[in-house]
């Protein structure tokens, strides 16, 4: 036991650094992914076929190619064309585009799940596109899309581990380094616990948002127990 504590104490500065890198990639990637998801999700409903086709191509491109390959492409191929990206930028860009593409399907699906009668009523009241989206459609779609976005956010947390491939000192990289001094079980065990804690915290935060969104719609709020259960399922 004291061995473990000693190891932890010795490694804690690096672990802390690694966790910070992972958190930064998570928040940066999630922020970009959200913007991409909303942008593409709305564009997928465009009345213009060209726009819809373009969205499909982008989404399929990012969903159909491996995240690892996308990162390698950004990190090793782009420089050959004279575009050098910092590791952070590369990581956030790859995570944001990839999970944004997945997220756009969630956004589109949620928007189209808002009953047709709601859309038609906004027309009958002559609301502008922006107005109906902002005040009527989005608040309803938001409650529907949160569970899906929650899942993707957890996957994104785990996806940040690929930063270690291009030698960023994220949590995975640090625990890999620790292996020699602390042993395989301890170092990866600690990494797993930290990833799990991050995932649980984020998942819980999104559950809170979801409960709030449902309450605004006058829908039943999930009880604490259900929230915990759903959180566990999303993380699993």
């Amino acid at each position: 036991m004291s061995d473990l504590l000693d190891t932890l104490a010795a490694a804690s500065p690096q672990l802390w650094e690694g966790t910070l890198v992972t958190l930064q990639l998570t928040f940066g990637g999630a922020a970009l992914a959200f913007l991409v998801a909303v942008g593409l999700g709305l564009a997928a409903l465009s009345p213009w076929v060209i726009v819809r086709t373009l969205v499909r191509v982008i989404v399929e491109l990012f969903r159909g190619t491996s995240l690892v390959v996308q990162v390698f492409f950004l990190f090793y191929v782009l420089p050959l064309w004279g575009v050098e990206l910092a590791p952070y930028t590369t990581g956030i860009l790859a995570l944001g585009l990839n999970y944004g593409a997945y997220g756009s399907e969630v956004v589109r699906g949620s928007l189209t799940s808002v009953p047709q009668g709601q859309w038609e009523t906004t027309t009958a009241l002559s609301m502008s596109w922006l107005h109906k989206m902002r005040r009527v459609i989005w608040p309803q779609a938001w409650a529907l899309m949160l569970p899906g976005l929650n899942n993707l956010l957890i996957m994104l947390v785990k996806g940040t581990a690929l930063a270690s491939f291009f030698l960023m000192n994220d949590l995975t990289f640090v625990s890999d380094q620790m292996r020699r001094t602390a042993g395989t079980f301890t170092s990866y065990g600690i990494a797993m616990v930290i990833y799990l804690l991050i995932a649980l915290a984020l998942s819980w935060a999104l559950r809170v948002l979801e409960a709030r969104a449902l309450r605004r719609l006058g829908l039943r709020e999930p009880t604490k127990g259900e929230t915990a259960k759903a959180t566990a399922e999303a993380v699993a």
């Binding site: 038609e120 009241l125 002559s126």
Partner: protein, 251 residues
């Protein structure tokens, strides 16, 4: 005044309306009856611009709605122009369609404030006055989900009225209600008919209501007007055998 001119509506290969012509005078209350699938809803939805007009023209007070003749050619109007004309028209749906993310009062003031640009206080007072009229003033701050179907539909009527439309479209507004809630909604509509001069196009199976409020009844069959008459005549002495059978079936 509403004027349908050579209106054609097709869904894919199905022609629902084939060269429909009719006129509704300002302040007139017209009830549309006819078997299911005869095109009544489609007519209201075309007026509300919820469906694309395949051919022909619809005029509101002489203003083209979605399409106009320019240099002898039929062209679609710009969305902004359509929106301006559309603001004269309000609609109440069978399914109420209240916004679940807003209170009763917010449902009613949303469009007057953000579409018509009414000052908030004025929109609020107007909304409360209309709520009073539909008998729900004390529920202004309730959530739509806390209301019965009949109350929700009365809020939906209030929401449409708050835009002060010249024309009100009512598509089977009591069909989704439990029988004991129908009366209150119809009473509210009777009151509106009595106290305003809003032009009303009504699709309903409530024949007593149709008799009480409408000036004219149009009987539709397969997208055509089979016959039209004053309600007393239509309901007591219809000209066509088809109308007689239809009325017998629903009464």
């Amino acid at each position: 005044m509403i004027h349908f001119q050579d209106v054609v509506k097709r869904f894919g290969d199905t022609t629902v309306l084939d060269g429909l012509d009719f006129t509704v005078a300002p302040g007139e209350r017209v009830t549309l009856i006819g078997p299911s699938g005869s095109g009544k809803t489609t007519i209201l939805r075309l007026l509300m611009t919820l469906e694309d007009l395949t051919e022909g023209f619809i005029y509101v007070d002489g203003e083209p709605l979605t399409h106009e003749l320019r240099d002898g050619k039929r062209v679609a109007r710009r969305p902004r122009d359509v929106s301006k004309t559309r603001r004269r028209i309000g609609m109440v749906f069978q399914q109420f369609n209240l916004f679940p993310n807003m209170s009763v009062l917010e449902n009613i003031t949303e469009a007057p404030i953000h579409v018509l640009g009414k000052p908030k206080q004025e929109a609020r007072e107007d909304a409360l006055r209309i709520l009073e009229q539909v008998g729900l003033r004390e529920r202004a701050n309730a959530h739509p989900m806390q209301l019965s179907g009949g109350q929700q539909q009365r809020v939906a009527i209030a929401r449409a009225l708050a835009m002060h439309p010249e024309i009100l479209l009512l598509d089977e507004v009591t069909s989704a209600l439990d029988p004991e809630l129908v009366g209150d909604v119809l009473e509210v509509l009777r009151e509106i008919a009595r106290t305003t001069n809003i032009t009303m196009l009504i699709v309903t199976h409530e024949m007593q209501f149709a008799r009480d409020v409408s000036n004219r009844v149009l009987m539709f069959d397969s997208g055509r007007i089979l016959e039209e008459a004053e309600p007393d005549k239509m309901f007591s002495h219809p000209e066509h055998e088809r109308t007689r059978r239809f009325l017998q079936a629903i009464l």
